[in-house]
Amino acid sequence: MGRRSRKPLPEINSGSMADIAFLLLIFFLVTTTMDQEYGLPRELPRKVEEKIPPPPVKERNVLLVYVNRNNELLVNNEYGDVKTLKERVKNFIPNRTNRSDWPEKDAPEEYGEDGFTFVFQKSKGIVALQNDRLTTYKTYIEVQDVLTQAFNELRNELAKAKYGKSYDELSELAAKGQTDDIQEEANTQMHAIQKAIPMAISEAEPIKSK
């Protein structure tokens, strides 16, 4: 026992340590990705038996957006443009001037809970998005994006008016608020806004190309 400890241990040669580390590093560089995932969330309509007729929707409540195979827009049977579509939807859905050809509104109802309530008339308006089978996906997403933007801006306005914070700020708070109470509060307010202005985009089946 004594004989061994008297001699100093030879040092392990660590010259190749760098090579091993580089090898691992390169392996991880190749097999992993850093890209974030983004998307536009949507809910598809449930498939129903064809015997059941769909609930009747009044014509004034629907804004029909049709994208044809040349990626041109038809909004309620008139030529439309993606650039003006957002304003069109933002005016159409809330129908602030109570036009007779724009959507009806529900009776005033109370939204929200836990002391964060407000009274609001929910719009019955729906945006129906129809596309040709040959519409480019890029254009289709562009239109979807504009519609989402319109609804998000409406939500922002309502949230600002009722809670003093925009909808985006609320969702930020709900996810990363400093305390649980703040998160809870923002969450309640967010749900109230969501209920008052649902993302009413209907993706109908495309019209068959002839």
């Binding site: 580390a21 995932e37 998307g39 969330p41 480019t136 996906y137 994006d145």
Partner: protein, 158 residues
């Protein structure tokens, strides 16, 4: 000039000490191990996602609830042709395979996550919408109603 030269020193430059090199490389390695995640599939179709300003970021805890369907032009044109096809996991497939695939992936998830699972349609921006519609119909058939259009986050549209 000669006054700068060390006395008795040979002309060779001294070797750089590389003892801390492994430390530096390990640091880089740990950074990449933490900041990145494994690639799930090797793409066999060309996918350039369309840009959208309203894109929502998928939280990292929801990553495992994504069921991805890739759509685009196959990179191996001799094998699969040039028409847009879809890729499910690592195979090129048809619309009729989407339903069974999604159900199978759903079953693989833990029960608590199944309700929150969603199908992400990651399609190339150049494909026509017809194939997307077919996928959506197939998804409605199997009652997988939560979907996402995979997009890129862009700052301004116009």
């Amino acid at each position: 000039m000669s006054k700068f030269r060390k006395k008795g020193g040979s002309g060779d430059a001294p070797g750089i000490n590389t003892a801390s090199l492994p430390d530096i490389v390990f640091m880089l390695l740990f950074f990449f191990m933490v900041a990145t995640r494994m690639r799930e599939v090797t793409l066999q179709v060309k996918v350039t996602k369309p840009g959208a300003t309203q894109s929502v970021k998928i939280a990292s805890e929801d990553r495992n609830k994504i069921i991805s369907v890739y759509v685009g032009q196959p990179t191996k044109a001799q094998l699969y042709g040039t028409a847009p096809r879809m890729q499910l996991n690592d195979v090129i497939a048809d619309v009729k395979d989407v339903g069974p695939f999604v159900l199978e992936e759903m079953n693989r998830l833990p029960e608590a996550d199944r309700k929150k699972a969603f199908v992400s349609i990651k399609a190339d921006e150049e494909v026509s919408t017809g194939i997307i519609t077919d996928i959506k119909e197939a998804l409605r058939d199997v009652d997988a109603l939560k979907i996402q259009y995979g997009t890129r986050k862009t700052a301004v549209l116009y």
